[in-house]
């Protein structure tokens, strides 16, 4: 079983984004069909028609845990202000803290991330930091008050999977008791399963489902993958080896040559 996230036990290890679906109905069905227990959301300027209220009602009706993000924020001040607005609007202490440092890769600015994480943690937020796989940064985030780490698998929306399995495995080994989530870069269920097989506690993805030809089917496939990966991890997989090792017993083989 996965670890709890700030005291919350999740029903399964899939956190699903809510952006880029072909329609609100398909978004809703993707959640219902997959059973994902966490929905990431954002804050944007409200239009005259009140589009945000309709969206909020749909998310509220799903009955999932809501994880608001600070997507698109490039400074500590911007991210902290966004977090405060999100806490009021969504009525949750959870915040997916994103501090973007690089335009093309959307790589986190980990220096500002640590600073914002400290400010928000001291203010009572429960921070889910979107970070890199750097161990020292992870340590600093924990010191800043984070109780969850969310390293990227690959750049947001890239669908490349796990770019640095070695580093993710090292992170799992370094922080055995910290809930770890691979956030971003997942393209296929096999990527999501691989993250869980490494011992991660959850996978957060959006584009791979929302932009699939059939988002509902892909959401179900992702859920099957993370659950299979988690079961496999719990089952203590064998070590890979270079040479063959016969699985059928040699003893008792008839002498026929």
């Amino acid at each position: 079983m996965g670890k709890s996230f700030y005291g919350v036990e999740l029903p399964n290890p899939l956190m699903l984004g809510t952006a880029q679906y072909p329609s609100p109905a398909i978004l809703e069905e993707a959640f219902r069909a997959s059973g994902a227990g966490v929905a990431t959301v954002s804050l944007r300027r409200e239009g005259a028609g009140g589009a945000g209220q309709t969206f909020w009602q749909m998310i509220a009706d799903l009955g999932v845990h809501v994880l608001p993000n600070t997507a698109g924020c490039h400074t500590v001040k911007e991210a902290v202000t966004t977090a405060h607005m999100a806490r009021e609007v969504f009525d949750t202490k959870w915040i997916k803290l994103e501090l973007i440092g690089h335009t093309d890769s959307l790589q986190p600015d980990v220096f500002q991330l640590v600073e914002a994480a400290r400010i928000l943690s001291e203010d009572g937020f429960e921070v889910f930091p979107y970070t890199t796989e750097d161990l020292i940064v992870g340590e600093r985030l924990l010191e800043a008050g984070c109780e969850v780490l969310m390293p990227w698998g690959a750049p947001i929306g890239s669908g490349r999977g796990l770019n640095n399995i070695y580093a993710l495995r090292a992170m799992r080994a370094e922080f055995p008791d910290v809930p770890l989530v691979v956030d971003a870069g997942i393209g296929l269920p096999s990527h999501a399963a691989a993250a869980m097989e490494l011992g991660f506690d959850a996978v957060l993805l959006n584009t791979a489902v929302a932009k699939a030809g059939d988002p509902v089917a892909m959401a179900k496939a992702m859920m099957a993958a993370v659950e299979a990966g988690q079961m496999a991890c719990d089952a203590d997989p064998i070590e890979a080896r270079d040479m063959a090792e016969a699985s059928t017993p040699v003893i008792g083989k008839a002498f026929l040559s």
Binding site: T18, A19, E46, A48, G50, W56, K77, A86, E88
Partner: protein, 64 residues
């Protein structure tokens, strides 16, 4: 007075933030900022507006 609301220049009659939300038809779950600083819902009525103020009104949206 003239303010900038969600990036657009507006002429408004309201003199405080709560009044502005009512005048511009915002309701439900929104959060507000004034000149890039968060203003909690409970403080909107006491938050007076001045010419040139920049107000942001945000609401729940899709996100990843």
């Amino acid at each position: 007075m003239k303010i900038v609301l969600n990036g657009e220049a507006r002429e408004v009659a309201a003199t405080d933030l709560a009044g502005l939300l009512g005048e511009c038809g915002f309701s439900g779950r929104v959060a507000t900022s004034l000149n890039e600083g968060f203003v909690p819902a409970g403080l909107r009525a006491a938050q007076t507006l001045a010419d040139g103020d920049r107000v942001e009104v945000v609401a729940p949206m899709q996100g990843g």
